[in-house]
């Protein structure tokens, strides 16, 4: 039927049915003096830059669970397609699953069109999905890649707004990284200079933000070439223990030794075969 509005099946999304009830429960809890548990935030420094031949994405590698480091070397630069990569800040599961969903859909799109996917398409898919979930998916992304129209860099916020810029930073360490970018960014930089700048920006986030740390990962994307450098620099190598808690035999003096053998008789021995049919 050639109707203008095609019947779309209902898409997934969060059900907001319990909002009223939750608000009431929160009121009740406050009355008693306690509060409902709050969502956990993770810290990150991620950034991206457009240089002469392409884009460079950088990320730290610390995943936190409150005040505890959950993963000292996690990978925050996700693959969207062979020419498009995406750094993710925010809730780790959200960034991981969102980028995987869009990566899958983009691959289907590329196979259908027979063309290399465009960064603008990945951007549209991501922002439309995040907007549909009204910010409840806590994924702040830095999307970068090179397609037929050149290098492109986008930053995508959890509510679904996007910015197309020559350099972007996201995450709890974004202010530290942005300070470095604002000071030293120039358009059309060479690859080595740009890599150094991204490394410095992530390092600023690692050393000045509690939520970011460990190593620096880089991803250099140019036309027809991809360099996924993990780790680019191990800024926080775990130290080698200089001391040892093991003590030699004889450190503590032995005053006396009593050995009592326990003689046990085997009374009955039976073997029960497991039914593995």
């Amino acid at each position: 039927m050639a109707t203008l509005i095609v019947n779309q099946p209902p898409v997934g999304g969060f059900s907001f049915d319990h909002c009223k009830r939750n608000a009431y429960l929160l009121g009740e809890a406050n009355k008693v003096g306690s509060s409902l548990p709050t969502a956990r935030k993770t810290g990150t420094t991620i950034c991206g830059i457009v240089f002469k031949d392409g884009v460079i994405l950088g990320a730290d590698t610390r995943a936190t669970e409150g005040m505890v480091v959950a993963d000292k070397n996690c990978s925050k630069i996700h693959h969207i397609s062979s020419n498009i990569y995406c750094c993710g800040a925010g809730t780790a599961a959200d960034t991981e699953m969102t980028t995987q969903i869009i990566s899958s859909n983009l691959e289907l799109h590329a196979l259908s069109t027979g063309r290399v996917p465009r960064v603008a398409t990945a951007n549209r898919m991501l922002k439309q999905m995040l907007f549909r979930y009204q910010g409840h998916i806590g994924a702040a992304l830095v999307l970068g890649g090179v397609d037929c129209n050149g290098p492109h860099l986008y930053s995508i916020y959890p509510h679904g707004s996007t910015d197309k810029l020559p350099y972007v930073t996201m995450g709890s360490g974004s202010l530290a990284a942005m300070a470095v970018f604002e000071d030293r960014y120039k358009p059309d930089m060479e690859e080595e200079d740009a890599k150094r700048l991204v490394r410095d920006a992530i390092a600023a986030g690692i050393f000045n933000d509690l939520g970011s740390g460990s190593n620096i990962d880089l991803c250099v994307i140019t036309k027809g070439n991809l360099d996924y450098i993990r780790p680019h620099e191990e800024a926080n190598k775990k130290g080698v223990r200089t001391g040892d808690y093991k003590y030699k035999r004889g450190t503590t003096g032995v005053l006396s030794k009593v050995v009592t053998p326990l003689n046990l008789e085997v009374v009955e021995e039976s073997v029960l075969t497991m039914d593995t049919s």
Binding site: A2, L4, A120, R124, M125, C148, N149
Partner: protein, 246 residues
């Protein structure tokens, strides 16, 4: 499920006949000729041209509102051959699909993807018993950002293909053989040559000496600003050039 020809419904709805034919789809192809018009489209080196007849049977009709050339996006146009009502419905659907693609994927729909989408929709009609196939043939002309000038055609059966030159309508076979002879000799035409070949193809096949008001020409070139429908004065220029050549 009806048992095919023993129940005799294979001519009434789109189900298979015992020989494996879809009669309704074949009837749809015949319906394209009901309009009595022929269209021709040729792809040149840096342009694509679509030409169709303009028949205004009634003196009371406003000739300005009679057209078979439609703009789908800035860089894609189409010429419709066949039943006018079905054509208009398909054009609306094509415009919707193109706009939806731009919204969902952030870039202009390529010509081949639009043709594939319209062909897939037409294919559904050849399976659904409740809907009949549409009796019109769409020829898309457009400029692809990556691949240059493109010419695609899709028909009521849901088949689509890219072409160097193609025709649709009553005199389709004659026009196609005329174009085959021309394409064999030369493949990369300039803008001038493409238009003149398309117009002369129609003129030869229909044995009509065209006046500017009897033709509709739509073009898209790599130099120009998107799909353009030529005015009568512009068509006249080409007709004059053609007659001077002969």
């Amino acid at each position: 499920m009806s048992r095919g020809s023993s129940a005799g419904f294979d001519r009434h709805i789109t189900i298979f006949s015992p020989e494996g034919r879809l009669y309704q789809v074949e009837y749809a192809f015949k319906a394209i000729n009901q309009g009595g018009l022929t269209s021709v489209a040729i792809r040149g080196k840096d342009c694509v041209v679509a030409v169709t007849q303009k028949k205004v049977p009634d003196k009371l009709l406003d000739a300005k509102t009679v057209t078979h050339l439609y703009k789908i996006t800035e860089n894609i146009g189409c010429v419709m051959t066949g039943m006018t009502a079905d054509s208009r419905s398909q054009v609306q659907r094509a415009r919707y699909e193109a706009a939806n693609w731009m919204y969902k994927y952030g870039y202009e729909i390529p010509v081949d993807m639009l043709c594939k989408r319209m062909a897939d929709i037409s294919q559904v009609y050849t399976q659904n018993a409740e809907m009949r196939p549409l009796g019109c043939c769409m020829i898309f002309v457009g400029l692809d950002e990556e691949l240059g000038p493109q010419l695609y055609k899709c028909d009521p059966a849901g088949y689509y293909c890219g072409f160097k030159a193609t025709a649709a309508g009553v005199k389709q076979t004659e026009a196609t053989s005329y174009l085959e002879k021309k394409v064999k000799k030369k493949l990369d035409w300039t803008y001038q040559q493409t238009i003149e070949t398309a117009i002369s193809c129609l003129a030869t096949v229909l044995s009509i000496d065209f006046k500017p008001s009897e033709l509709e020409v739509g073009i898209i070139t790599t130099k120009g600003s998107g799909f353009k429908i030529l005015s009568e004065t512009e068509i006249d220029v080409h007709l004059v050039a053609l007659s001077e050549r002969e």
